[in-house]
C-alpha cells in the first residue's frame, strides 16, 4: 500500500449523502460519508472499478465540514434512526491506521447519541480505535469463505482475523455488523458458506451482531467485460441476467435458492439475528423470509425496531 497516490480534496459539495440504492429494489436508507474515495484493497469484483475514474485515493478530512452535514441530515430526519457509513466508496479501516480519520467521527457519534456510525471493512485492524470506541459505532466486516478471500480479495485480512477483530469490538462494548456481500456462486460454495457460518457462530457473540446483510454478486454491465478480460472464473460461474435496474445479477431463481439456504442456516444459529438483503426485490424478500417489506421505508422501520430493541432509550 506504500505506492498509493493519496490526494487531499478541498471541502466542497455533499460529502454526506443518501446511499444511491437502485431502481425497483429495496434500499435500507443508509447514509454514506465519503470520507475516502478509492480503495487500496482492490478486490477483483469491486464496483469502484466502474465508478471511480482515478487510481488515486481522495481523502476528505475536513471533519467539522463533514459533521455539520451529518447534523443537518439527522436534524432533518424525524421518523427514522439514521445509520451512516464510510465504507461505500472505500474500505473504512484499510487506511485508518495511517490517516486516523475515523476517530473524530467515532467521538462525534458517541457524543450526539442520535444516530449510528458503521465502519465497514475487510481490513482487520482496530487497535488504534479501541480506546475511543463507544456503542454508537458499529464495527462491521464483509465476510466470505477463505477461498474467495484468497482468490478475489487478495490484499485483505484473512477471515479468521476479521472475525477475531469483530469479537474484539464486541468485547470493547460495540455491536458488530456482518455483510455477506458479495455472495459468489462457484462450485462447492454451499459447503464453504456453511463452514463460514459455523466459524461466525463459534467466534462471535451472535446476540451482539446488530445486523447482517446478504447480497449476491451484482455489478454494472461494463464490469462484465472487465471480469472476462481478467478471467474471473469464480465471478462468472453463475448465470447472470440484466436486472430491472440495469445491473447484472444472478437469475432470480438462483438468488432465492441461495438466500433461502443462507437465511435458514443463519437463523438456525440465532433465531433473533437481524438479516436484511442489500438491494433486493420485494418478491425475493417475501419468498425467502416470508415477510412483506414493501418499500424502503418499511425496511428502515425494521432497522428502527432492531436498534430500539438493542439500545432501549439510549438513542
Amino acid at each position: 500500500m506504500n505506492s498509493l497516490r493519496v490526494e487531499h480534496a478541498p471541502s466542497q459539495g455533499n460529502i454526506v449523502r443518501d446511499c444511491p440504492g437502485t431502481k425497483d429494489h429495496i434500499c435500507c436508507g443508509y447514509k454514506t460519508i465519503d470520507l475516502i474515495e478509492g480503495c487500496a484493497l482492490s478486490c477483483s469484483y469491486c464496483i469502484l472499478k466502474a465508478y471511480l475514474n482515478t487510481p488515486a485515493i481522495t481523502i476528505h478530512d475536513d471533519i467539522p465540514y463533514i459533521t455539520s452535514q451529518i447534523d443537518v441530515m439527522t436534524g432533518r430526519e424525524a421518523r427514522h434512526i439514521l445509520r451512516f457509513g464510510t465504507g461505500e466508496l472505500s474500505d473504512s479501516l484499510a487506511l485508518d491506521r495511517r490517516y486516523k480519520l475515523n476517530r473524530p467521527l467515532v467521538e462525534f457519534f458517541g457524543a450526539r447519541k442520535n444516530a449510528l456510525l458503521e465502519l465497514k471493512s475487510k481490513w482487520a485492524y482496530i487497535e488504534h480505535l479501541i480506546p475511543h470506541l463507544n456503542p454508537y459505532t458499529i464495527i462491521s466486516f464483509s465476510v466470505a469463505p477463505q477461498r474467495i478471500i484468497d482468490e478475489e480479495e487478495k490484499r485483505t485480512s484473512p477471515l479468521y482475523k476479521r472475525l477475531k477483530t469483530a469479537r474484539k469490538a464486541q468485547d470493547a462494548g460495540c455491536f458488530v455488523g456482518l455483510h455477506f456481500d458479495p455472495i459468489i456462486i462457484y462450485p462447492g460454495f454451499e459447503k464453504d458458506y456453511r463452514y463460514l457460518i459455523e466459524d461466525i457462530s463459534r467466534i462471535l457473540d451472535m446476540d451482539r451482531i446488530i445486523w447482517l446483510s446478504l447480497g449476491l454478486l451484482r455489478f454494472p454491465p461494463k464490469l462484465l467485460g472487465h471480469y472476462m478480460e481478467h478471467n474471473r472464473k469464480n465471478l462468472l460461474y453463475g448465470e447472470f441476467i440484466r436486472g430491472e435496474d440495469g445491473k447484472m445479477r444472478y437469475i432470480k431463481q438462483q438468488r432465492i435458492k441461495v438466500y433461502s439456504m443462507l437465511y435458514r442456516l443463519l437463523k438456525k444459529k440465532n433465531k433473533g439475528l437481524f438479516i436484511y438483503f442489500c438491494m433486493e426485490r420485494e418478491d425475493v424478500w417475501r419468498k425467502v423470509t416470508g415477510m412483506t417489506v414493501k418499500d424502503d421505508d418499511a425496511l428502515m422501520t425494521l432497522f428502527d425496531e432492531r436498534i430500539k430493541n438493542l439500545y432501549g432509550g439510549k438513542i
Binding site: 478471467n231 426485490r281 419468498k287
Partner: protein
C-alpha cells in the same frame, strides 16, 4: 519525380515489406484497369530489383490481366521513409482493421519510436494506447482465416479481442464454425462472448452440438442453452405452457425476458363484445387448468 513505364519483370512482386493492403485482390480495380489502364502510377523504391512502396493492388490486378508494363515513379528513400509513404498514401481511402494492423505492426517491427506509432494511431482513429497497439500487432501476426473473418464481418475490436483470447486451436475451430455463416458484428460479438464465458467457466470451448447450426441465430440459441441453462429451461417451460394454453391470436401472455418481474402481462386485442366474452372464457379455462399458476411459478422464482 518522373513517371516511367516499368516492366513487371524489373519489380520484385513478392517483396511486401511496405504492403499494408488487405486483401490484394480487388475485382472492381481489375475491371477498371482492364477498361482504362492504370491511372495512378505505382511508387517504387530504387533498388535492384525494384521494390513496391505503393500500388500493390494495382500491380496484383496488372499481373492478373497479364500486363507487361505499368506506369510508375521511382524514389530513393530510406526504408522507414518508404513505409511511412505507403501508410500515408493509403490513409485517404479508409483502411480496414487488418490494414491498420499491418501498418502498425510494420512500424513496430521497423523500430519506430512509440510516439511516432501513436501519432499514426491517432490518424487511424485509434486510441493511442499500448494495449490497443498490442491487439493490432496480434491481428497482423495472425493467419489468413482470422484476418478474413475480421474483414468479412467488419468485426469490432470487442469481437477481435474475444477471438484473440482463445488459444490458437480453439480460435481455428471457432473461425471454421463461423466462417460460412452470414452474421452481423453484434451477433458475432454475442456469440463470441458466450464462447469466452464457456472457456472461463469450464477451461475449454466445447463445440458439441454447434456444428450443425443452420445460421447465426441458431448458433446463438444453441450456445445460450449451454451458457444459460436455467434461463433457457425456464423459457422452454414458459413456451410449452403457453402452447398448452392454445391461445387465440388476439390473446397473448408475456413475461419479463429474464423472469425478474413477478407479474405477467396478459394482452387482449378486442374488436367486439364477443371478443371480450371469448377472452374471458379462455382465461377462465386456462386459470382452472393451472396454466396461469405454472407461469407465475416461473416468474416468482
Amino acid at each position: 519525380m518522373e513517371m516511367k513505364t516499368i516492366s513487371l519483370h524489373d519489380i520484385d512482386l513478392n517483396d511486401r515489406r511496405f504492403c499494408i493492403s488487405y486483401a490484394l485482390e480487388d475485382e472492381t480495380l481489375t475491371e477498371s484497369i482492364r477498361e482504362v489502364g492504370i491511372v495512378q502510377p505505382a511508387l517504387l523504391l530504387d533498388a535492384s530489383p525494384l521494390i513496391v512502396i505503393t500500388g500493390f493492388r494495382r500491380l496484383a490486378s496488372a499481373k492478373k490481366l497479364g500486363l507487361a508494363n505499368i506506369p510508375a515513379m521511382i524514389k530513393k528513400v530510406r526504408a522507414d521513409e518508404a513505409l511511412l509513404l505507403s501508410i500515408h498514401d493509403n490513409l485517404g481511402r479508409g483502411l480496414n482493421t487488418v490494414e491498420k494492423a499491418y501498418a502498425l505492426e510494420k512500424m513496430a517491427s521497423a523500430g519506430f519510436p512509440r510516439q511516432k506509432i501513436f501519432g499514426v494511431m491517432a490518424l487511424l482513429s485509434l486510441n493511442p494506447h499500448e494495449k490497443v497497439l498490442g491487439s493490432f500487432v496480434a491481428i497482423a501476426n495472425e493467419g489468413k482465416p482470422l484476418q478474413d473473418l475480421i474483414v468479412r464481418h467488419d468485426a469490432s475490436m470487442k469481437s477481435i479481442e474475444y477471438l484473440l483470447k482463445l488459444d490458437a486451436q480453439e480460435r481455428r475451430r471457432i473461425i471454421s464454425l463461423l466462417s460460412p455463416l452470414h452474421i452481423t458484428d453484434s451477433l458475432l460479438r454475442e456469440i463470441l462472448e458466450m464462447f469466452i464465458l464457456m472457456k472461463i467457466r469450464k477451461g475449454a470451448v466445447d463445440l458439441k452440438g454447434l456444428r450443425s447450426a443452420s445460421d447465426g441465430r441458431d448458433l446463438k440459441a444453441r450456445l445460450k442453452k449451454k451458457s444459460y441453462p436455467i434461463l433457457t429451461s425456464m423459457e422452454k417451460k414458459f413456451l410449452a405452457t403457453k402452447q398448452l394454453c392454445a391461445l387465440a391470436p388476439h390473446i397473448d401472455i408475456k413475461v419479463d425476458p429474464f423472469f425478474e418481474k413477478e407479474y405477467i402481462d396478459i394482452l387482449l386485442k378486442i374488436k367486439s363484445e364477443n371478443d371480450v366474452k371469448a377472452a374471458i372464457e379462455k382465461l377462465k379455462a386456462i386459470l382452472e387448468d393451472g396454466y396461469i399458476r405454472s407461469i407465475l411459478e416461473l416468474t416468482q422464482g
